[in-house]
Symmetry: C2
Subunit: 218 residues, 2 copies
């Protein structure tokens, strides 16, 4: 019985780690759809988001069944509660990738981004995808050093986010209000995506140490 | 023992309902600080947010203790899991009210909002505060009709949010990029605040019926 129970816990972690890879791929595609005004890629991201939602629902059901049938305590209980939180964070990452794809679709065939800001979004996309993949690794390995790496990746995202605002607010900005509004929201989506990846890693730190790292100030 | 256990469950719900009132008050004050460029009020919201975070941590500890010591099943388990989710949503509502106050502080003594958009934010504030108070009532009463009311309040918020964008994108917009960027983010904060209140109410529907209402598309 104990083995079946451990299998269930591992299965829960595998599901979440897989979800991380899925939202990493979603953000990768969404960023490309944004940079290349690629409608087909945007549509793919939009139609695939339902699968992330389904995995989340399945993960919650597994967590619920574990709580009801196994009544875990101590570390095992922390694993299950963290999985419930993590599933919510990762689903939200999928939603944010979806929002990026929706922006690309809304303006198609026009590009959303003026050429001079495209490289920043390419970089925000890379950092975001890296954060999601690392969050998946942390779920699988419970490696605290890897969990700490997400914090510095998130700092890089915050720097990019701040920089975007200074570009928009600069008096040389020549693209008017419409693109500025789009860029404001898009930059926010990437920044929030990164925050949720960090939250996932922090919950794993809590599983391992019993202590939550300091709160994320966003 | 059963009574002490029920007391613990009630105590958990009371804590969350109180948290709702606190974030309602935070948004009320934050909105006034925004409309009146009232720095002192903004500072109050900013310094009080830590209390919301503390109540959230306490609620999570209570939920964790209930799971570990009482091993609830069925409806009671749904109550505890929903409380864990709800605490996260309500804390986020507090963060969003904080962001509104931070925007007011950042631009002080300048007002953030051009006069023509101020009434929309006054209305978004009223709708948001109403949503938070109703979410608190739903936690206390588990009244499904009241839970459904939050959906229509949220529709009102979405309409206001969409309308703000059409104002910004209008060719008569004369305030330039800076205020447009501020308004884009602020409108987003109110809209997300409302979404989290709806999520809290939906979790209560799940507690009562065992079924989650359809996903929130945001």
């Amino acid at each position: 019985m104990r083995d079946a129970y451990q299998d269930q816990l591992d299965d829960l972690a595998d599901g979440l780690a897989g979800m991380c890879n899925q939202v990493a791929e979603a953000l990768e595609k969404a960023t490309r759809s944004l940079l290349d005004a690629d409608l087909q890629l945007a549509e793919e991201v939009i139609s695939e988001d339902i699968r992330v939602d389904e995995i989340r629902a399945a993960a919650e059901e597994k967590a619920f069944a574990l709580l009801a049938l196994q009544a875990p305590v101590a570390t095992d209980l922390r694993i299950v509660v963290s999985a419930i939180h993590g599933a919510g964070d990762i689903e939200r990452m999928g939603d944010l990738a979806l929002h990026v794809a929706q922006a690309a679709r809304r303006r198609h065939p026009q590009p959303v981004l003026p050429g001079e800001v495209a490289p920043y979004f390419a970089e925000m996309g890379r950092v975001g995808v890296r954060l999601a993949r690392k969050a998946g690794d942390v779920i699988r390995t419970r490696d605290l050093a890897a969990a700490a790496e997400l914090e510095s990746d998130d700092d890089a995202m915050d720097d990019l986010h701040r920089h975007m605002f200074s570009v928009l607010m600069d008096r040389h900005w020549s693209h008017g209000v419409g693109p500025a509004v789009d860029i404001t929201l898009l930059a926010r989506f990437y920044e929030r995506y990164a925050d949720h990846a960090v939250a996932v890693a922090r919950r794993i730190v809590y599983v391992v140490t019993g202590q939550m790292p300091g709160p994320l100030t966003v």
